[in-house]
Symmetry: C3
Subunit: 206 residues, 3 copies
Amino acid sequence: MDLSYYMELMGVAFFAISGALAAAEKKGHHNDIFSAFFTGFITAIGGGTLRDITLGNYPVAWVRDGNVLWAIFFGFMLTILFARYWVRIRKALFLFDSIGIGIYTVIGTKISLGAGVNPFGSVILGMVSAIFGGVIRDTLINEVPLIFRKEIYATACLSGATLYIVFDYLNVDKNWNAGFSVVLVVLIRVVTVRYNLSLPKFKLPE
Amino acid sequence: MDLSYYMELMGVAFFAISGALAAAEKKGHHNDIFSAFFTGFITAIGGGTLRDITLGNYPVAWVRDGNVLWAIFFGFMLTILFARYWVRIRKALFLFDSIGIGIYTVIGTKISLGAGVNPFGSVILGMVSAIFGGVIRDTLINEVPLIFRKEIYATACLSGATLYIVFDYLNVDKNWNAGFSVVLVVLIRVVTVRYNLSLPKFKLPE
Amino acid sequence: MDLSYYMELMGVAFFAISGALAAAEKKGHHNDIFSAFFTGFITAIGGGTLRDITLGNYPVAWVRDGNVLWAIFFGFMLTILFARYWVRIRKALFLFDSIGIGIYTVIGTKISLGAGVNPFGSVILGMVSAIFGGVIRDTLINEVPLIFRKEIYATACLSGATLYIVFDYLNVDKNWNAGFSVVLVVLIRVVTVRYNLSLPKFKLPE
C-alpha cells in the first residue's frame, strides 16, 4: 500500500517534468517559468482529476493531499535545475513516461472498478487517467493532442486496462496483476515506436 | 419512459457516428481508428457529462450504464463498416444530427429543472447538454467550434429549451412538450440553413 | 457579507463584458451576438465552476443563484449597447479587469481554505478561480491563453492568494485581509505592465 503511494508520487513528479519540458519546447511561445510549472501541474493532475470528478470521487487527490503538489513542485525544480541533462537522456525519458502512463492506467482502472463502474467504463476511465493530463496540456498550448498523432499511445492504455480487468476477474494476485498490466502498456509503446507501427487509418472515401 | 431511454441510446449512437466522421474528415491529422472511436465517444458523452458534473448528478450516465458505451461502440462500428454510404447521405445526416441535438436539449433541460435549477440556468444546461460534446470535440481536434461559426446552432437549442420550460410552466403534457420542443430545434436549424440566415453580427468599431 | 455578494455580482458582470469584447475582437470569426454572450458567460463562470466541481462544492454558484446569470446578461447588454465606448476606455478596462481577478482570487482562496484544502492547494484554486474562465475562453476561440503570453497574470493571482493565506494564519481581520490581497494582485499587474516586466524565461538548451 505504502509502496504504491510512493510510486504514485513518483509518477506525479515525472509527469510534472514531462509537462514542463513540453512547454519549454513549444516554439513561438513566451516560455517563462510559470508556464513551465503550470503545464507540469496540468499534465500531472489533469487525468486523475477528470477521472475523480467524473466518478464524484471527492476530495480529489491533490486537493486532499498536499504531497501531490509538493511532488509537482519537486519535479518542476528538477526540470529547471537540470534542464541541460534532460535533453541528453531523451530515450530514458521515453521509458519513464511509458512507465508513468502504465502506473496511471492501472491506478485509474482499479479506482473505477472499486467505485462499482462497469468493466467497459473502467477501461475508458483507466485510459482517461493516464492520457488526459497530456490531452489538456496539448490543447492549452494549442497543439494537436498526442493521442491524435501517429504514435500508439491511448491504445496501449486501453490494452493495459483490459488486461488488468481480465486478471482481476480471474483472481490473479493484485500486485502481480498491476505489474503485468504496467509492463504490457510499456511493451506496446516501446515495440510500436521501435518498429514504427501504427493503427489502421480511417479516412472517408472522396 | 422506456421509449425515452431507447431514444437516448439512439441519440448517443448517432452522435458517436457524427463525431467519428468529423475526425475522419479532419485534414492533416493521422486519422486512425482509435481517433475515430475517441472523437465519437467525446461527442456523444461530453455534453451530458459536463451537465451532470456541473449539477453534481452522480453517477454520470455512461459510468452508471454500460449500454451507453455499447451504443457508442455500435455507432463506431456502423461508421467504419459503412463509411462509403455516410458520405452519400449527408443531407439525411444533417437531419439526424438536428434531431439528436433536439433530444439532448430536452433531456438536459428536464434533468436540470428536476434538480431544482432556476429556469435561466436550466435553459443554459439544456444547451450545454446538446452542444458541448461537439465543442470539446472541435477544441481537441483544433478547430474553431461550430458554435462560433456561421450556422445557427446553439441558439436553436436555447429556443427549444425555453419553449420546453414555458410549456412545462403551463402544464402542457410532458410527451407533447418534449415533441414540440424537439421539433422547434429541428425547424430552426433546417430553416436557417436552408435560407442561409444568421444572427446579427457584433463587431467593435475600429 | 451582503457587500461581498454584490461585489461578486459586479465581478461576474465585468468578466462577462471582457469576455464578450474578446469574442468581438477575434479576427476571422463569425462574431455574432450569441458568440458574444457565450464567451462572456464562459469567462464569467468558468473559473468558479471549475473550482467548485474540483472541490465537490455543490450546487455550483450560477446553478444555485439565478442572479449570477442575470449579472452576465446585464454585462452582455452593456457590451452591446455601449460597444463604441468600451474601445475608448481601454485603460480603465484593464484596471477593472485587474480588480476583477483580484476579487475572484480572494473569493476562491477563502472558499478553498473553508473547505479544508491545504494552503498550497488553496493558492492554486484561488488562481484557478480567477484565471480559468479566461483560459477556457481563449482555448475555445483558438487563441494561446493569456497565461502563456508575456504578461504577468497568473503569478499576480498566486501572490495575492499567498498573501491572503499568510494574513489569515496571522489572524488579520478578514475584510482588511481581502482588501490588501486584492490590492496586491492589482499592483503587481499594473506595475509589471507599466514597466514591461516579465518572468524569467525557461527554454531548453539546443
